[in-house]
Structures are given as structure tokens and as C-alpha cells.
């Protein structure tokens, strides 16, 4: 048990503990903050695996973007101090049972498979390497998915604006006329 292993188990405990509290806490704002800790723990796990670029993206997109968005929508839609209704006991029991059985089954499967991690090749995940491959047009390049995903982001942006837009007075009159 060396330092690296201790750090790994500490990070794993942080991720799983925070995630468990995020799904069980009855106050929605606390739940969001626990989710934040869990995502920071996952970024720490990426740092521990020495894939710094993914770790940075994780912090920028999840912690800086999605959690802030979730907290915004909590403030817009409900009283954050109020406790949510407790789920029914039967539902808790069956969900926990399903989750535990699934975990046990998958862990059993992983244990029996036994991955052979023999490859001693160096792992080069520097930003320049990722950038070169992301924008290359050769057979292992990712330029096509890169462009497709940028179109997806544009579509999501336009879609969000259209969905969340307040209907104007002219629109409402138009809709009412249609119904008649």
C-alpha cells in the first residue's frame, strides 16, 4: 500500500460517498452540492490517471457549466430550503435491491473476466497529441465527429432558446385563433 494507492482509495471514497448523498439527500440544493463534490472527485480521478486534459475539461464543463446550470434551475423553479417528499419505502427497497444486485453481478463479471494489462507502451495523452488527432483527416482522425458535435451544440443552443422563450402576446392570439 503506497501513496498512490492510498490516494486512489481516498478519491474513490469521495466519489462514491458524495454520489450516494447526492441521490439520497432530501434537500435539493444540498443534493446539487454533493453532486458537485462527486464531479470534482471524478476530475481528481482523471488527474490521478494522468489524463490532465480530460480532467480540465471535466472541471470546466461539469463543475463550471452543468452544476451551475442545475443550481440556476433549482433557484428558478422551487424553494431550495424545502424538503422534498420522501420516496415510498417499497420503492426504496426495490430500487436498492435492483442496484445492489446489478452491482454484485457486474463486479462478479469483472472479477471473472480478468483483464490482461500487459502492454508496456507509453501512454501519451498530451494536449498537442489530442489536438493533432482531433483535427486530422486521416483514417484515425476525428474531424467528422468534431464537426457533427459542433452542429449538435448549435442545434441545442437554438432549441433551448426556442423552448424556454416566453410566448409573446401576438403568438398567444395566433394560437387562440387556431383553436377556434
Amino acid at each position: 500500500m503506497n501513496t498512490s494507492a492510498i490516494i486512489f482509495y481516498a478519491i474513490a471514497t469521495l466519489i462514491l460517498g458524495a454520489a450516494l448523498l447526492a441521490v439520497t439527500s432530501l434537500k435539493i440544493f444540498r443534493s446539487a452540492i454533493w453532486l458537485l463534490f462527486s464531479l470534482v472527485g471524478i476530475a481528481a480521478l482523471y488527474f490521478w490517471m494522468q489524463v490532465e486534459f480530460i480532467a480540465a475539461i471535466q472541471i470546466v464543463v461539469y463543475v463550471g457549466g452543468i452544476v451551475v446550470l442545475i443550481i440556476f434551475s433549482i433557484f428558478l423553479t422551487q424553494q431550495s430550503g424545502k424538503e422534498m417528499a420522501k420516496p415510498a419505502t417499497g420503492k426504496i427497497i426495490f430500487s436498492a435491491l435492483a442496484a445492489l444486485l446489478g452491482t454484485a453481478f457486474t463486479i462478479n463479471l469483472i472479477n471473472h473476466y480478468g483483464f490482461n494489462t500487459l502492454s508496456a507502451l507509453p501512454f501519451n495523452s498530451s494536449v498537442s497529441e489530442i489536438g493533432m488527432q482531433m483535427l486530422s483527416t486521416t483514417s484515425h482522425g476525428f474531424i467528422l465527429p468534431f464537426e457533427v458535435v459542433s452542429m449538435l451544440l448549435l442545434a441545442a443552443m437554438v432549441g433551448c432558446i426556442v423552448i424556454a422563450m416566453k410566448p409573446t402576446a401576438a403568438n398567444i392570439v395566433h394560437l387562440n385563433n387556431k383553436e377556434d
Binding site: S4, L35, L39, I42, T77, M84, K91, H140, I163
Partner: protein
């Protein structure tokens, strides 16, 4: 680094996935259900990065998959929150049990 086998990282991501599934089953509030989905997506990302690093260190495909998953998760969260705000405007509630108009 080498003392931790790949299986232990997979155990963490498995547990994280099923914690997210538990949350998705028990919660009735759309925002908290969305948070559970984020946890599940993150466990998938951990798997991709760990497999890439331990089994195929000469390639970077796993990293690209997790990058694209993160992008799509961000787009999904943005659209979901627009829908939540719209639903709140029409129902004054974001509980899934209150929005039953299209339930058969």
C-alpha cells in the same frame, strides 16, 4: 500507479453507475433525476478513460469518446433545463407525477 489494477477502477465506476440508477428510480423530481443521469454518464467516461489507459495506451480513442460524451451531456443538460423551465411555467411543478397529460 501500477499497483492499482484496472478492475478496481471498474469497481468504482460500476458502483457509481448503480448509485445513479438508484437515484433515477427513487427520485420524482426532474432536476434530481437529471443529476442521477449525469452520474451515470460520468461512470461511463471513467470506464472509457481507464480502458484506454490500461489496455490500449498507444491509441487515444477512449479519450475522444469521453470528450464527445461530455459535449453531448452538456447539450443534453441545457435542453433538459429549458424543458424544465417550460414545464414549470405550465404546471407550476417539476414533479414527474404531475405531468401526466400524455400518459396512456
Amino acid at each position: 500507479m501500477n499497483e492499482i489494477p484496472l478492475t478496481h477502477i471498474l469497481f468504482v465506476s460500476t458502483a457509481l453507475f448503480f448509485i445513479g440508477m438508484y437515484g433515477l428510480f427513487t427520485r420524482r423530481n426532474i432536476i434530481t433525476m437529471l443529476m442521477s443521469i449525469e452520474l451515470m454518464l460520468n461512470s461511463v467516461n471513467i470506464n472509457f478513460v481507464a480502458f484506454n489507459k490500461y489496455l490500449f495506451p498507444d491509441k487515444l480513442d477512449g479519450l475522444f469518446f469521453s470528450l464527445f460524451i461530455i459535449t453531448i451531456a452538456a447539450a443534453e443538460a441545457a435542453v433538459a433545463i429549458a424543458i424544465i423551465i417550460n414545464l414549470y411555467r405550465s404546471h407550476q411543478s417539476i414533479d414527474v407525477d404531475d405531468a401526466t397529460e400524455m400518459k396512456f
